[in-house]
Symmetry: C2
Subunit: 401 residues, 2 copies
């Protein structure tokens, strides 16, 4: 309610006054900039997350971009700068469609806070969502703009600049490795559609980068400029944020140059149902556990194990790689599994327990698996929180027994 | 001693009678077929493992192949079968050199045996080694033999057949995803040199496949045939072995079709010095810990953490990516970090302890990390054993204190 009021009183001196309306079911972590996640129990109702419920992670105010005058600038190529209109992107390049999961580096940060305080938005388990994106391939655009082998000999990165800016005029920025950008199988898009509609304002209208398998922060929204370069983006978010450190590194000792910028994310899974603290009925004698699992770098999730007895017995979950009513999707080529899998398994309730800890862990096709516990992966920015997910529920004994 | 005798009495009715001599320092896990690893304390003396000490993992007798009559057959391409001599491979294709670490899927299996018995050779921590391989790129050979986009539309795998065979005539076989085989950045070699010499007999003379980032079992030795195919290799080792399962899957319930063949390996590290059970001198007040770290899929190791206090404090190790006397190697392009890193860190001894458990864990540039413990990744074949490595040592108090 407070949040709504805050939104209403926004005025023109407030750079956030032009932010769009949002779905009231979203759980807001920060209003300005807007950062919100869907309720976990809604998240896995759909294989494709509806646009309105897709997690929102803005670093700055949402810019209002006129599609008629929109220009995408491309720099760093031997033939000189190139400028493309929205119409150019839609008509001069094949339209390519990819279903890809995006995850914020800070997803599940709140679990790290239980070990020791970290700096960052207190995300729950739903700073992750899955959508079908359409647009021009970045690869096609770069080749048309003059990219070739002689560029590859020097350049190593592709930088992106957003049209969103702070009060000093600094724009959001990030970069990805050149190899990912130009790979035939990298599927990097300059996307203008999300789930068959124009990109919503919160997701980068009119054009954003979608870098499948790569941390959300590199999927730059409201894309204004692309620079092919020997250097990574000089932005704060590339250089001094979104990096992982040892649990023993603190704010006095951290050297941001010592760690690589997060690109591909590690294997992840979490339980969305039952919710933490939920009541499970003893009379049903079983509990159905649902959740999501995903891995970065196009690595396919191949198994999710669930336990309700502290790991003595692991139950193998059913994996779902498309909407329930649809035919199961064919397995993508190795290395191009960009989308999550939903999982479900029904497990017998232990005879005696009054409380239950449910845990899950996923495995991808590189056979990487999640670490058992949070403390050893704790890091000062609270990113990359991918330990086994644990949910405690209560068992409601039948009163007539 | 017994092993040596066994070797001596070998006669011509023994298919293993033509196996080569081996270095006496190797720790033999099986003599026929020959399977052996170097002593861990020697393993990390060199960044490039000497050929004689490189771990040996043979599935069958070592075949004696005449280089003058050697033929490599290539099938499954539209222009029909192709046959190449050793001289063809050496002269018709550019010689490409790659430093790549190979690891057996069963490396560190002995630690899984401490949880519950598994089936397989009882490897310690040294079924992993690093070498510089030279040969023709598989990509170049396939393109020359008629590979093109119309093949990619149907085919998904590249199968390899060895010239080693069992008494029934069945040859060793394996396959890799087509995308890896033809990728410009996959660096798959038809190698004829190992560390600047002809391939040793035990390592596939005259030609083996080297598939950087991929489990040892797919790096087929004594290569006789390549088949581009819609199907994976039908071999036992591709279909019913070298796969990972849930800890709750046993030999009565296992369905080998339910898991993917191991290809890229997960993040790994282990401590080679001090050795398990070693005595550490209290008077030095510190202990130097050395080991190796490596990850599959070309993911670069970016950090190794070491603890001597059960994980309360983690010490960040120095990483070494080339021989000590050499200039540090430049970081490879993202996704092409095929070689291990050696690590070293000197840690203060805790004041009171008489025994110490040293543990290490590594992180790669996808920020995947090793699982904390073995039991949750236990599997019936004892493969993919990559939990934190733990070494217990004793602290020798100065008697004059
Ligand atoms: Mo993020
Ligand atoms: Mo192996």
């Amino acid at each position: 309610e407070d949040l709504k009021k805050q939104q209403k009183v926004a005025d023109s001196s407030d750079p956030y006054s032009t932010d769009p309306e949002r779905h009231p079911a979203l759980r807001v972590n920060s209003l300005k900039p807007f950062n919100a996640e869907p309720p976990p129990e809604l998240l896995t109702d759909n294989y494709i997350t509806p646009n309105a419920l897709f997690f929102k992670r803005n670093h700055l105010p949402v810019p209002r971009v006129d599609p008629k005058t929109y220009k995408l600038e491309i720099e760093g190529l031997p033939r000189g700068p190139v400028s493309l209109t929205l119409n150019d992107l839609k008509t001069r390049f094949p339209k390519h469609t990819v279903t890809a999961t995006l995850q914020c580096a800070g997803n599940r940060r709140s679990e790290m806070n239980t070990v020791k305080q970290v700096k960052g938005l207190n995300w729950g388990i739903a700073a992750i969502s899955n959508a079908t994106w359409s647009g021009a391939r970045l690869r096609d655009v770069l080749y048309t703009a003059g990219y070739g082998p002689e560029v590859a000999a020097k350049a190593r990165h592709v930088q992106f600049e957003g049209l969103d800016r702070d009060v000093t005029g600094t724009t959001y920025g990030a970069s990805i490795p050149l190899g990912k950008a130009v790979s035939e199988v990298g599927d990097v898009l300059l996307a203008y559609e999300m789930n068959g509609e124009d990109l919503p304002l919160d997701h980068g209208y009119p054009v954003r980068v979608v870098v499948p398998g790569t941390v959300g922060a590199r999927n730059v929204k409201w894309l204004g400029k692309i620079v092919v370069s020997e250097e990574e983006s000089k932005s704060h978010w590339q250089q001094n944020d979104y990096k992982g450190f040892s649990p023993s590194t603190d704010w006095d000792t951290v050297d941001f140059k010592s760690a690589p910028a997060i690109q591909e994310l590690p294997i992840q899974s979490a339980i969305t149902q039952p919710a933490e603290g939920a009541m499970v009925d003893r009379s049903t004698e079983e509990v159905t556990v649902r959740g999501y699992a995903w891995s970065g770098g196009g690595r396919e999730v191949v198994r999710v194990d669930v336990t309700v007895d502290g790991g003595k017995t692991w139950h193998i979950a059913q994996l779902q790689g498309s909407e329930k009513e649809q035919e199961p999707a064919a397995s993508p080529p190795t290395g191009q599994a960009w989308a999550w899998k939903l999982f479900e398994v029904t497990v017998p309730l232990p005879a005696e327990a009054q409380e239950l800890e449910i845990m899950c862990k996923a495995v991808d096709n590189s056979y990487n698996t999640q670490p058992d516990t949070v403390a050893p992966i704790w890091n000062l920015r609270g990113v990359l929180s991918n330990a086994w997910h644990r949910v405690k529920v209560k068992i409601n004994e039948d009163s007539e027994e």
